[in-house]
């Protein structure tokens, strides 16, 4: 298997506070990797480093083949990012949003045209192409935001709590999109507070107080910790946290 994320003792300090402490792990191509942790465990800091937005204090990492210190601009071009708060523009239409993001990522005009057509068909939004994003139901916005985040064909997409606030059916439809992208070889790096979603990941890491306290497949973690569900595994690990969030 081919790793697309490798980190070696990746650390970030803010003064005397060690937000992320010697993180070492690999994520393989096409893998769905769940990145879990309690509030304040250091997930956001780690994720910002991996996206090339925050310079580490020490340690090494390569993202999509690029160095996390020297090649942050290349990293940014080769990853996608979607957060809970959508990065879509409410005042632009569906197709304008696609065009905008594809343009930002430097796609050519014919390529953008082609991609827009494909995406609208794939998302069954052909009739809504000229609808303002503001008017779309939340679930559709979410699917569009995901598609837009991988419009430039990145190797990895970072999803930061992508399913917050949607109904249970839409949440599961969103995971269908995640699976479809992973099947095409896109690596998925996802955070969530829904522990049932942790079960949908190939492997899961759980951060506690700035370190990775556990990392394995959900089935293996449940076996190791002799728990029935990922929620129990998470609870057992995270309640030992000393850090006052």
């Amino acid at each position: 298997m081919e790793p697309v994320i490798t980190t070696d003792k990746l650390t970030k300090r803010f003064g005397s506070f060690v937000a992320a402490n010697e993180l070492s792990f690999e994520v393989n191509k096409g893998e769905i990797f769940g990145f879990l942790g309690a509030n304040g465990a250091g997930k956001t800091t780690a994720m910002r480093m991996l996206c090339g937005l925050l310079t580490p204090s020490s340690g090494k990492a390569r993202i999509a083949g690029f160095d996390i210190y020297k090649e942050t601009e290349k990293i940014k071009r080769n990853i996608g990012y979607m957060s809970q708060k959508f990065s879509l523009y409410d005042d632009l239409t569906v197709s304008e949003n696609i065009r905008f993001y594809a343009g930002i990522y430097g796609m050519s005009i014919p390529a953008i045209k082609q991609k827009t057509k494909e995406l609208l068909e794939e998302l069954q939004l052909v009739n809504e192409a000229k609808t303002l994003v503001r008017e779309l139901p939340l679930g559709w916005k979410q699917k569009l935001a995901f598609s837009v985040s991988i419009v430039h064909g990145p190797e990895i997409v970072f999803l930061d709590e992508p399913t917050g606030g949607v109904d249970p059916v839409t949440r599961r439809q969103f995971w269908d999109l995640i699976y479809a992208a992973a099947d095409k070889g896109v690596t998925i790096f996802v955070t969530t507070h829904y522990m049932d979603e942790a079960e949908y990941c190939n492997r899961v890491s759980i951060m506690v107080d700035g370190v990775i306290a556990a990392l394995d497949s959900p089935a293996e973690l449940k076996r190791q910790y002799r728990n029935q569900s990922m929620e129990d595994v998470f609870y057992e690990l995270a309640r030992k946290a000393k850090r006052g969030e």
Binding site: N39, P168, W175, H193, P218, Y235, E245
Partner: protein, 309 residues
Amino acid sequence: MITIEKLTKTYNKGQVLAVQDVSLDVRHGELFGLIGPDGAGKTTIFRILTTLLLADKGTATVNGCDVVKDYAKIRNSVGYMPGRFSLYQDLTIEENLNFFATVFGTSIRENYDLIKDIYIQIEPFKDRRAGKLSGGMKQKLALCCALIHKPAVLFLDEPTTGVDVVSRKEFWEMLARLKAEGITIMVSTPYMDEANRCDRIALMQKGQILSIDTPAWIVGQFPVDLYAVHQANTHKLLKEVRKYPGTDSCFAFGDSLHVTLKGGATAGHEGEEGSAGLTKYLRDRGLADVSMEKITPGVEDCFIQLLKS
């Protein structure tokens, strides 16, 4: 303690229907949950009940007071924790708490017993500005501020959204203690698993109530047999179960699938459409070691089922 009758609220000159003809009652001392995704109308209901918003149609009372006529009385007797953190970011923990106590004509000392369990967890940071607190600490401070005047009714709008499993558990334990103090609590959440912590719940979607009762009753109303189907490769299993002609619905739940069959077919029915048919179908497609058992649905299963109808 709370009555809502045929409440309707629209936004944007009637274009957005936020709450549609909603009626419900919350009894004294009850822990009542509004369960549903964003856009269900939960926040609108809170804002009407806390007299911050006027309904288009319908009536509502809180603690015997009408939300329109007696708004001033309601404001004195309820605590409200909005979904968005709305304390003073530039004031410290202690200053915020003092401020809310003073506004309500009381002092921290007078009702300290009520908030003690929660306050001691953030007291070490009492000189820190609210804006500098972590999510979990903000949540605890907001709850203290909502409680400091010993309200008869407590309104909590999505207090656990975006909060990790450990903090969520702790928060519900705090609510159980407040309920034991006799405070009536109305709480909203998008997490279906939290529904079981409530005495009664209203499942909501797009401004309407899908079902309202105790979690146990709602679960008991699930109309067909529900099966948990498990195999190591959940994703492949999901694709195949969906293709099976006898499948009515199929959703991933953790490491299993929850499946209902067409015509409510049960395990006793061994025809092609039954559960035996499904395991055979899967075996024929190379999925060995499939386990399938009839299970009791959860609130989330019920919500999904109600969305279909």
